[in-house]
């Protein structure tokens, strides 16, 4: 291992689901203590903390955690980057270690989201008694539902439909089949929020939220946390052979935002920044899509998973529909995607997601994924996107 390589030394995720008796710090503590224990290290070994939480982003979750697990005086970076918050926290630890500021860093993400409902567009203020232009559009009244939609299921529905307009082949049934896959995959994942298999009829017949996304085709709001310990290659060489054997190489760690494109401020363009992140990640890792044994990508809605097959270059440009229909992305296919169940079924406690997906891939690379193990997995990719937008991509490799 090269001295300036980055490695995951320890990593952990909590069970995703309803945790009414645990607060944010309880959940974060469980994930962090799990990651430290998994890596055979302690809080005093950490030189930096990247702390992710979105819904209470001004509450200093990093310091709250320190006050329970160890106030060692190290720098804490509390980060919020929409649904890319977890990946951003991990990037912070990676950057600090890469820069040589410390040889070991901690990243965690935690969210309490059970029963949250619509996260955007869930409320609309009433009209005022006097029309008065305000804001950057000079609007005299709230515009959600009057000028398009602000709800995420509707925004991402349009993103999937736009792909269908450009390349053809999409349908309500096609998108529902993607959801069927992920709800099938999660039956093997004991940490998933929802692990009950759902038939295509059940998915298509469920409550419509924003056509073509029915409720089970939307990411599942739930509670959860995940944490990882990042270590430099030079430090890892000084640790035990067992720690070295279980360490997982971070071959690429990338964060991008969206470069301006004609329509990107009208309908979020989740494609360009994802493609850019993937390109940079493949280059940094010296690997290509054909090297991947599994991918955990950001299926915040069934309509989103389809476009990311293309954006991450898992298929030919414009070929995502045929690629899915070939069966490639099922766990027994040529390119298993979201074998954890994905955000639709494993769940999406926002800030935890960008580290929980790394845990999933790392667990397969270590050969410790139990019933859902992808046999012989050596290389995997994780992807998250937060609207606004930010995209995090990591490529992980099994220790040689």
């Amino acid at each position: 291992m090269a001295s300036d390589d980055l490695w995951i030394l320890g990593i952990h995720m909590t069970k995703f689901g309803k945790h009414p008796d645990l607060d944010l710090v309880d959940l974060a503590s469980e994930a962090v203590l799990g990651a430290l224990s998994d890596g055979g290290v302690e809080m005093k070994d950490m030189g930096v903390i990247g702390a992710g939480n979105l819904m209470a982003a001004n509450a200093g979750i990093g310091q709250q955690l320190q006050k329970q697990l160890g106030q060692t005086g190290i720098p804490v970076y509390n980060v919020a980057n929409a649904c890319a918050t977890g990946a951003t926290a991990l990037r912070v630890a990676c950057m600090a270690v890469k820069a040589g500021e410390t040889d070991m860093g901690l990243a965690f993400g935690v969210e309490k989201l059970s029963g949250a409902g619509l996260l955007s567009g869930g409320n609309r203020k009433g009209d005022s008694g006097t029309w008065e232009p305000s804001g950057r559009y000079g609007a005299v009244a709230p515009v959600d539902g009057r000028i398009g939609t602000e709800i995420m299921p509707g925004v991402f529905a349009q993103i999937g439909m736009e792909y269908g307009h450009r390349y053809g082949g999409t349908s309500f049934e096609l998108f529902a089949k993607i959801s069927e896959k992920n709800h099938s995959h999660s039956t093997l994942n004991p940490l998933a929020a929802y692990s009950k298999k759902m038939s295509l009829d059940e998915i298509m017949g469920d409550v419509m939220i924003a056509y073509p996304n029915t409720r089970p085709m939307c990411s599942a709001n739930c509670d959860g946390a995940a944490a990882a310990v990042v270590v430099s290659g030079s430090k890892l060489k000084t640790l035990s052979l067992e720690q070295q054997r279980r360490a997982v190489k971070i071959s690429a760690s990338i964060l991008t935002t969206d470069p301006w494109e004609e329509s990107c401020q009208i309908l979020p363009d989740v494609n360009t920044l994802t493609r850019n992140a993937a390109n940079q990640a493949y280059e940094q890792a010296g690997l290509g899509p054909s090297d991947l044994d599994l991918v955990e990508l950001h299926d915040c809605f069934a309509t989103a998973e389809l476009v990311h097959y293309d954006n991450l270059m898992l298929c030919e440009v414009g070929g995502a529909v045929d690629f899915f229909n070939s069966g490639a992305t099922w766990r027994d296919g040529s390119m298993p995607v979201n074998v954890s169940g994905g955000l639709e079924s494993k769940g999406h406690p926002i800030a935890a997601t960008g580290i929980a997906n790394v845990w999933e891939v790392a667990t397969h690379l270590r050969g410790e994924a139990g019933d859902r193990q992808i046999a012989g997995a050596r290389v995997g990719m994780t992807h998250v996107i937060g609207l606004g937008s930010a995209c995090g991509v990591h490529i992980l490799e099994k220790a040689a």
Binding site: Y137, A139, G148, G164, Y211, Q265
Partner: protein, 132 residues
Amino acid sequence: MAKQIPLVDYLELGDDPHLTANECTACGARFFDRRNACASCGKTEFDRVDVSTKGEVRAFTIVAFAAPGIPVPYVAALVDCGGTSVRANLINVEPDPEHVTLGMSVRLVTEVVGTDDHGTEAIGFGFEPLGG
């Protein structure tokens, strides 16, 4: 006729209602909001330009679940108006996938959003299917 005000300042009312955009004089990028600078090239000068009232539906969704007070279902769409993307509702069309299709041709129409305490009407816009 009641006094009228546009729902947003980029909707121009009158005999020929249409949308206007801030177009960067340097690179031609168009924006509907008040600008500090151009997100594409960083320059700071803009012209106010008219946007075509005819377009093609590039993406849509039929929203069935929304905040209290928002009538559902409604159709939200991305409309390509001669190269300028516009966010809008599709109106005067049945909100179901049999009647709303990708690629359909549409045109801008206005409608009354509501009337305030002073009797002033707020006028919004949407796009309706063009022709038959």
